[in-house]
């Protein structure tokens, strides 16, 4: 176990280094003259054409002419000292911007994840226990629908139905508990549907295993067979999905936050991308990558807690 932890942490660091290079290169390769875009966003206005002197001055002031390797090393050096860089667009340290915008995003993602997992598991178990009955069919059609609808469309429909027609929830914004309901559902619906489907299949598969038949033969009541033998075993494949969909949710939150005016990293990232505020984009993405890796690291350890057959060495 000890060895495994050390090995996993080395992997984690290795993945972070590779990801940082990749992110840095891809962001710097964004099409369009970055100094020009930045000059228009900062000084003159989006519809104007920046004069060459201004472009030269912007390049000089914000170190855009430096070789990419030097820029990368400076950026990484800063991160290692705990300094994520300085945002040109917002004229603030990236650390402060993330401290401001990351908590709402994490909050939204976690609520969406909890919603997706609990509802998905309950529906999946229910669906499997009522296989081929009418409610099972309704749930299955519902999940196909939820998987195929794009998140932004679901968000707009939710606003239309629950906010405009019924007036039950606020349309958008960031405040008390009612504000989180629609964004969390819009963000988590897709994941909820996949968890439902996988849990249902996994339950049905587990129910045909010999140990379930033996559990019945032992004289255990049906409820006990389901709760203590079927559900636990059926949960294993779902655990992997929960880990990977955390990344999907973090990425999906960019769109959902924009629709609901949620003050997370989503809206900030959109502005940073259009203004070519490279350091802000890179550092924010690295933060997301880091969180994703940590969550999956924890899930891997959870596997060991649930399934004793997995031995780490």
């Amino acid at each position: 176990m000890h060895h495994y932890l050390i090995k996993r942490i080395i992997y984690l660091i290795f993945t972070l280094v590779i990801a940082s290079m990749f992110v840095f290169v891809v962001v710097n390769a964004t099409p369009g003259e970055s100094a020009e875009v930045l000059a228009r966003h900062l000084y003159i206005g989006l519809e104007e054409i920046a004069p060459p002197e201004l472009i030269a001055e912007v390049s000089e002031r914000y170190d855009l002419n430096k070789p990419i390797l030097q820029l990368y090393l400076e950026w990484i050096g800063g991160i290692l000292r705990g300094d994520l860089g300085y945002s040109i667009l917002f004229n603030k340290p990236v650390n402060r911007l993330l401290m401001l915008h990351l908590p709402p995003t994490i909050f939204l993602t976690v609520v969406a994840m909890v919603f997706a997992t609990t509802t998905g598991l309950v529906l999946g178990i229910f669906s499997a226990l009522h296989q081929n009955r009418i409610l099972d069919h309704i749930i299955r059609v519902g999940t196909i629908f939820s998987v195929s609808m794009p998140g932004f469309w679901v968000a707009v429909m939710l606003i239309l139905v629950f906010s405009m027609w019924f007036g039950l929830t606020p349309i958008s914004g960031y405040g008390g508990p009612p504000y989180i309901i629609l964004p969390a559902i819009a963000l988590g619906l897709h994941t909820m549907a996949s968890i439902t489907r996988i849990m249902r299949t996994s339950m049905l598969e587990t129910m045909n295993k010999p140990f379930v038949m033996f559990a019945k033969a032992k004289g255990l009541p049906k409820r006990r067979v389901i709760v203590s033998h079927v559900c636990k075993n059926a949960l294993l494949p779902v655990l992997t999905i929960i880990g990977t969909s955390f990344g999907t949710l973090l990425a999906g939150s960019v769109v959902i936050e924009t629709i609901f005016s949620w003050p997370g990293i989503g809206a900030m990232l959109m502005k940073a991308i259009s203004a070519r505020d490279f350091v802000l984009i890179e550092s924010t993405i690295m933060m997301v990558v880091f969180m994703f890796l940590i969550v999956n690291f924890v899930i891997d350890l959870l596997y060991h807690v649930i399934d004793p057959r997995i031995i780490y060495d």
Partner: protein
């Protein structure tokens, strides 16, 4: 006294290829204190009989006939009523010990949950679990109770599943192919274990197996199944030493100690059974005409399904 009496048991499964008649007009009984063995090849409907007794057949199975347990009808009662008998009246030693244990639950807990539904208190569950395990000659019962199934060897897993079946001291034990895939030593150990069960208070056993050598070692009464039908049933010593039905004769002749003479042909598919005798085309001494389906008849103290006997 008969602890189990199966009469005219029919089990069939509707499939795409027609009705598969897995078990037809099966009649036999298990007396209190005896080991009854049903032998038959793969697909002869052995397992289906065990599952029918324990109400473990899939929902699409069509079942008719009657099964009396201690004089009480158990085939037609509801699953809910029957589940009260499972475990502490009739219990099962499953076919495949490895797949029959929950991989995520500690071995001790898998025994204890049987005791739990019988209303044993938590402290007693622990001591009972330990005593059951040491009765099954586990040298370190506490360690076994704390380990997970994948940590045990195949033989230990089998003793463990037997231990689970015995936990609530049932009166009748149904063992489904307990020697499947075992070598000679493992088989010998299993025989000793089953013969030893009497000491633990279990005396009536219905054993289902394809292993004729094992059956001979252990059985008091024996039944031979062919294509879903019982073709011979009687005292084990008689059945194995002087078989009457040509199929039983063929099986006995095919044993290594009797020269390993193979029987020609294959058993007919259960979906397309012929009208007359199912064994006709493989029979060494066939009747001239195969139009009458043979019925079970009493011949020299046992039952045989053959028109010629």
């Amino acid at each position: 006294m008969d602890i189990l009496e199966v009469s005219e048991l029919n089990v069939a499964f509707p499939t795409r290829y027609g009705l598969v008649r897995a078990s037809q007009n099966v009649n036999f009984s298990v007396k209190e204190g005896e080991i009854c063995v049903l032998v038959g090849e793969t697909g002869s409907g052995k397992t289906v009989i065990g599952q029918a007794i324990l109400h473990l057949l899939p929902q699409n199975a069509k079942i008719s006939g009657s099964i009396l347990y201690a004089g009480e009808e158990i085939l037609s009662i509801s699953d809910q009523k029957f589940s009260r008998l499972r475990g502490h009246e009739i219990s099962l030693v499953p076919q495949n010990p490895t797949d029959s244990l929950d991989p995520l639950m500690r071995c001790g807990q898998q025994i204890a949950e049987v005791l739990d539904i019988c209303g044993t208190s938590r402290e007693d569950q622990l001591s009972r679990t330990t005593s059951i395990l040491s009765d099954l000659s586990f040298s370190d019962p506490e360690l076994v109770a704390a380990s997970y199934p994948h940590m045990l060897s195949g033989g230990m897993r089998q003793r463990l599943t037997t231990g689970i079946a015995l936990a609530a001291s049932p009166r009748l034990l149904i063992a489904d192919e307990p020697t499947k895939g075992f070598d000679y030593t493992a088989r010998k150990r299993t025989v000793d274990m089953f013969l030893d069960l009497e000491r633990m208070g279990i005396d009536s056993i219905l054993m289902i197996t394809h292993d004729l050598v094992f059956a001979e070692m252990i059985a008091d009464t024996a039944g031979v199944l062919y294509s879903g039908e019982l073709v011979e049933f009687g005292p084990a010593a008689d059945v194995f030493s002087s078989p009457l039905h040509p199929y039983t004769k063929g099986l006995v002749a095919a044993l290594p100690k009797n020269g390993m003479t193979p029987m020609p042909g294959m058993s007919p598919g259960l979906a397309r059974l012929p009208n007359g005798c199912y064994f006709h085309n493989r029979c060494a001494t066939p009747c001239e005409e195969n139009s009458v389906h043979p019925v079970m008849r009493k011949v020299c103290g046992r039952f045989v399904r053959c028109n010629r006997c």
